[in-house]
């Protein structure tokens, strides 16, 4: 589904991603972990098409298409969804109106008819229940005055309504208490399907107790320095990021090559 090859990206002239290779297939859940400043969020935002970043090298294929050539709305309509680390407050834009416009944009791309107000509300009410979203939240401006937890839940709620093929969660777990974390995890798990993949960007192993990944990658200084199964996350939790230090304070091509690589499973 997603093939990231030697991806380099910079912001304000400062290189952040220094050659990312990553393959995600349908049905898989990948977790990207790493210390602050390692480029985790940058990777998520580059994949979503944030204009702040310049891709300086490499390529990203999404279903064989050049993802990096697409504008953000095209990516979204083709099924790429990023849950924001810091969801943006947009005063004056009604949450329900926004979500309906987004859903109909995505549906149009899929060749589905627009939903009318009644059909939309039926769908929305069903998805709200799972995520414990209060209906009053729908009629407020987008994210305005939402608590941190409400914002994060609202992101997952949007994802549940838009039904993307690739869900990217950018530190959705940060700042959540355990109850909110469980709600978010329930929402994500309910969406796991054979034709859908997830990329979980997280600083903490905690989320991975509830959303169990198929693969874990460790990002440091803009490169993936370790890849493994879910047990890698536990190892990180135990030892901290410090134990990776030697391998990324002096990264070299040879070392990067020497690191274990995940073999793509399936198609």
């Amino acid at each position: 589904m997603l093939r990231v090859k030697n991806l380099h990206a910079a912001a304000a002239g400062h290189e952040i991603l220094r050659g990312i290779d990553l393959s995600i297939d349908a049905g898989e859940v990948h977790a990207i972990m790493g210390p602050n400043g390692s480029g985790k969020s940058t990777l998520a935002r580059v994949l979503a098409g944030h204009p702040e970043y310049q891709v300086t090298g490499g390529e990203v294929l999404y279903d064989g298409q050049d993802l990096l050539a697409m504008d953000p709305e095209t990516r979204a309509r083709l099924g790429v969804f990023m849950a924001f680390q810091y969801p943006v407050e947009i005063p004056g834009v009604n949450n329900a109106y926004f979500l309906k416009a987004a859903l109909n944009a995505v549906r149009a791309q899929r060749g589905q008819e627009e939903l009318d107000a009644v059909e939309f509300m039926t769908l929305v009410r069903e998805r709200m229940g799972v995520l414990g979203i209060d209906e009053a939240l729908l009629n407020r401006p987008v994210n305005e005055g939402f608590s941190g937890g409400e914002k994060k839940r609202n992101e997952i709620f949007q994802m549940a309504v838009l039904e993307p093929r690739l869900g990217i969660l950018d530190e959705t777990d940060s700042g959540l208490d355990i109850d909110a974390l469980k709600i978010v995890a329930t929402g994500v798990n309910a969406m796991r399907r054979g034709d859908r993949a997830f990329l979980l960007v997280t600083h903490y192993q905690r989320l991975l107790n509830y959303v169990v990944p198929d693969f874990v990658h460790v990002l440091a200084e803009g490169r993936i320095v370790r890849s493994g199964g879910k047990e890698l996350a536990l190892e990180l939790e135990e030892k901290g990021y410090g134990w990776l230090e030697p391998s990324y304070t002096e990264p070299s091509a040879q070392l990067a090559e020497a690191l274990p690589r995940r073999q793509p499973v399936g198609g």
């Binding site: 979503a48 944030h50 709305e73 979204a76 924001f84 004056g92 834009v93 987004a102 944009a105």
Partner: protein, 439 residues
Amino acid sequence: MAYTLDSWLAEWKRAKQSRPRLASLDRISGAAFETFQAHGFPTTREEDWRFTSVAPIADNSFALVMEPRTAGLDIARLRLPGDVATELVFVDGRYVAGLSRLPALPAGSRAESLAAAIASPHEQIQTHLTRVASFDRGPFLALNTAFLVDGAFVELAPGTILQQPIHLLFVATGRDNGRTTMAHPRVLAVLGANSQATIVETYVGPDTIGYFTNAVTEIVLGENAVLDHYTRQYEGTAAHHVGAIYTEAQRSATCTLHGINVGGGLVRNDIVTTLDGEGIDCTLNGLYLSDERRLVDNHTTIDHARPHCASREIYKGILADHARGVFNGKIIVRPDAQKTDAKQTNRALLLSEDAQINTKPQLEIFANDVKCTHGAAVGQLDDEAMFYLRSRGLSAGHARQLLIHAFAADVLNRLPLESIRADVEFRLQRQLTAKLRAA
């Protein structure tokens, strides 16, 4: 003097012949024209006109229309939807009875052509006309006074509550006998004590003609009177529109002025509100949109002359392309006006790097126990919000449209008349849509 005023003198002489006969008005008109001649048009060397050159008006000659032509004029879509208390229609500054809607008003109240009211003549006319907005307060006021031939007169008897709005529709045709037209409509509204009304003024005209509208509205609010006043300036995009609203409010009155500016190539509005009694509540809501090379200049003055008055002012502007905006908000708090509570906000949204806003709050406070705040902000569309909306599948054009609408929303939400709110939203969208799709 930079400009020659010959053509204005010739037109003024023509105007004299068609003016309603009233000796006192004849004298005032003459004095006003002398004042105008002595001063001439303002130049950008004057502080009040620093950012607004009126050369496109001063360098042109405009014809006053004696007999408006209404054949083929379709105003169906300009009418206020729903029931109205009265709808007076003016074409090129002249009242047209045939196009107006005149349901019966409660006893003691009237809404009629100013020319007819002057001819009556009426007591309130004698007392207030040209007094509230006296012609020595600015050259365009002097010009309007000199050219005063018609307009609207609204009077509410004390205690009268009008449920339906009064609509004053000013339509410009722009051309008369091959000449570009001008109009100097005057509105006088006198609301008796404890009365309540909604008055809507609408200015419209063709997009391609650089005609000139120079409107003056005088408002007198009696004790405890409540007024919601709307100005919808939808002039053609090449038009020159100068408008002044002078309001005098008495004790415990509630005065709300909504100023919507979407049209006009060169637009200058002066709003002066004098709070001349205790406990007055004054609200100014402004929303303007300009694009291409158009200019909108809003000058407002709220004069707190007595204690315990509150004023709330919020002006928001959207500027695209090479458009320019000017906002000057003056708040005067006189020595007597203790316990004044004044709040002013103005924000501008610049949609292009070439758009410009000059904004200046001007607080003149002579009392010590007052609360006065002001805030000004200029910004572009928020990049993060744009990305957020697009990352959910909305096109860039749709995202921009939503954010612009959101920017305008808090002023729009302050427009109590639903039909007007919807209409203003429609006008904003229409003016911006082509631009946003292209961007």
